[in-house]
Amino acid sequence: MKYEDVALERIAFDDSRFRISFFFGLSELKRSIAEIGLINPPAVVLRSNRIVVVAGWKRAEACRRLSFPSIPCRILEEPSDLQAFHISLHDNIMTRELSICERAEILKKLQDFGVGEETLVTGYLPLLGIPATRIHLEAHLAAASFDSESKEFIHEENTPYPVLACLIGLSRSERKSVLPFLRHLGRNKQKELVEHLMEISRRDSVSIMSVLSAPEIETVIRSHFFSEQQKAERVRAILRRKRYPALTATTDSFLAAVKSIAWPENIAVEPPPFFESEDVSVKFSFRSSEEFGKKVEELKAVADEGRISSLLKSFSDD
């Protein structure tokens, strides 16, 4: 293994053939290197008289930004790009957790370096902690072909596979329209929003852009009153209504019926889940038998008013 001091101006930072990380902050690393120097030299390889970084992009870039004239580098002698890339691969997977975006990038590069599909599935997916199926390979390769903005989102959000699988179904312009909402939602809500968008689009035979251009959604987007998170939640709720019109109408009817009844304090009234059964639930807490008895009496008074039947009718099909 050979080590050499390499002038930074000789390093081809525009050659990213081995690079798997594109979105990273450098301030902490710069501070560390400025204080104690470069401990772990990047690995480089000579290609057509150019010095190309194989592993240690962040370290090399940090040193460039610190205006180092040169840095020690480990000079690799691997004749092929694939062999050199293996070094970068193992350097990364052994030392840190890779994001889904980075795993996608690795698979794309391996494919570009000539690794066949079968080997990618049986050999590399397990190495990257990905289920060894063609479906997962295709999903990751599709993600590697995303535009930069989408990749950055996936990387920053550490988007899990189920959400990625949804995003793959969107075109670039559709993702561009959706990402601003997704940034302000948790993962489950991200998945729900994208799924609902796609399902409404398919069900109604309209484009996703059409769905997002609905007047009620445009009103929310253009509003100056809502924060970005509030906008995201409102759009999610609108899409839910569109996706489940009958369910949301029934829910509204039930809630209106609940509201019309003067319930005792601290009583929770819940419909059957998805209104599948006929059972409404009433919940309350108590700390003494007196408290319990009082609540029961109050509920009995509600029943005597005759309003319960209208509550039950609010979601009945009779």
Binding site: I135, E199, R243, P273, S277, D317
Partner: protein, 353 residues
């Protein structure tokens, strides 16, 4: 494996390459790596031995009423490729499997019938596969008919349920009043779009008519009933065709069941059948965790279909639900069974004529 059924199958498939595979692990791994493992599995017929029990209670679901049906796992999986098929999720491997140790099957059936003497039983082979799809290769229907011809005094109905028109062996077999030949039906549009590889529903009804003329009793399963634009007319038309073709007194029972599946099947359907729209309707979680149409939508479908059926045959045909709530029974069929035993008794009553 030297079973007579194996020899029969290999003889019927002499033109197709076969191989003895002592350990299927490598094969299943290779299929698992395919882009469409389920589709790949359907290209392979595996003849093996059923090491466990053939007979099991139908995997009905909690919170909804079952009918005490028993399934006989003679063969697993199916060469058809229905988009909604639960076997895409349910079976641990995707090969079409024939269990060739038929003598063990007869012994288990003997024991089962003995243990349940005096009880009206309904059982069949069409739950984890199609009872007749491979009948031209296996000749299973002949075997079952021969078995049940010797048990005409047993209180059992054995159902061969299919979406095919593979009735040649039936037409050449003697009759058994214990055997019911059943067809899964749908609207023609849904059959065309979602039941890939299956003949048209009209052809299935024509096959049923032939089988009735031969002397068998038949049954029909409108399952799954699917919502789509124009569903009312679609189901009306096929019900009309059914009852102009089949006399009501030759129909053992008709079941109704709406589209339902575990949530995990949704991604499989979307991936394997990207043009299918069945997952885009208003499906919500039922009490058993399966996705079903939102109840009012389901109720509307059932009411329409049940009224079409009743208009044609009044109460001359036993109509029941598969995996539905007591509420649905009450609101559509105007009776709410106390439990699955009541449904079992109702459906296994002897027929007149």
């Amino acid at each position: 494996m030297s079973y007579p059924l194996t020899d029969r199958i290999l003889s019927n498939l002499a033109h197709i390459a076969s191989e003895i595979v002592p350990d299927s692990t490598a094969l299943l791994e290779a299929i698992g790596r395919a882009t469409d493992p389920i589709g790949e599995g359907k290209k392979i017929l595996c003849i093996t031995k059923q090491k466990g029990g053939f007979i099991k209670p139908c995997p009905c679901t909690s919170h909804y009423l079952g009918c005490n049906y028993f399934i006989v796992n003679a063969d697993l999986n199916c060469p058809l490729d229905c988009t909604y098929c639960i076997l895409q999720l349910y079976l641990s491997d995707s090969l079409i499997t024939v269990h060739a140790n038929t003598e063990d099957l007869w012994e288990q059936l003997d024991r089962f019938l003995r243990m349940n003497r005096g009880r009206g039983l309904r059982m069949g082979t069409g739950e984890l596969g199609d009872s007749l799809a491979l009948d031209h290769i296996t000749g299973r229907s002949r075997d079952f008919i021969a078995y049940f011809r010797k048990r005409s005094s047993d209180q059992v109905f054995f159902e061969l349920k299919t979406k095919t028109v593979n009735i040649e062996n039936l037409m050449e077999s003697p009759l058994s009043d214990r055997i019911i030949i059943a067809w899964s039906l749908n609207s023609e549009q849904m059959a065309r779009q979602e039941e890939i590889g299956a003949p048209t529903v009209r052809k299935r009804i024509e096959a049923a008519r032939e089988v009735v003329r031969k002397g068998f009793r038949v049954a029909f399963h409108f399952d799954p009933v699917i919502r789509y634009a124009g569903w009312e007319m679609g189901y009306e038309e096929i019900i009309d065709t059914l009852f102009t073709s089949i006399p009501a007194d030759r129909i053992a029972w008709i079941s109704l069941g709406s589209l339902r599946f575990p949530p995990h099947l949704k991604a499989i359907i979307r991936k394997r059948f990207p043009r299918s729209r069945i997952t885009d309707e208003e499906l919500v979680r039922g009490e058993d965790g399966k996705l079903r149409y939102f109840k009012p939508l389901r109720l509307k479908m059932y009411r329409h279909i049940a009224s079409c059926i009743k208009r044609a045959v009044r109460n001359r045909v036993r109509l029941y639900f598969c995996m539905e709530s007591g509420e649905m029974w009450r609101k559509v069929l105007l009776k709410e069974p106390k439990g699955k035993e009541e449904i079992e008794n109702y459906l296994s009553l002897p027929f007149e004529g």
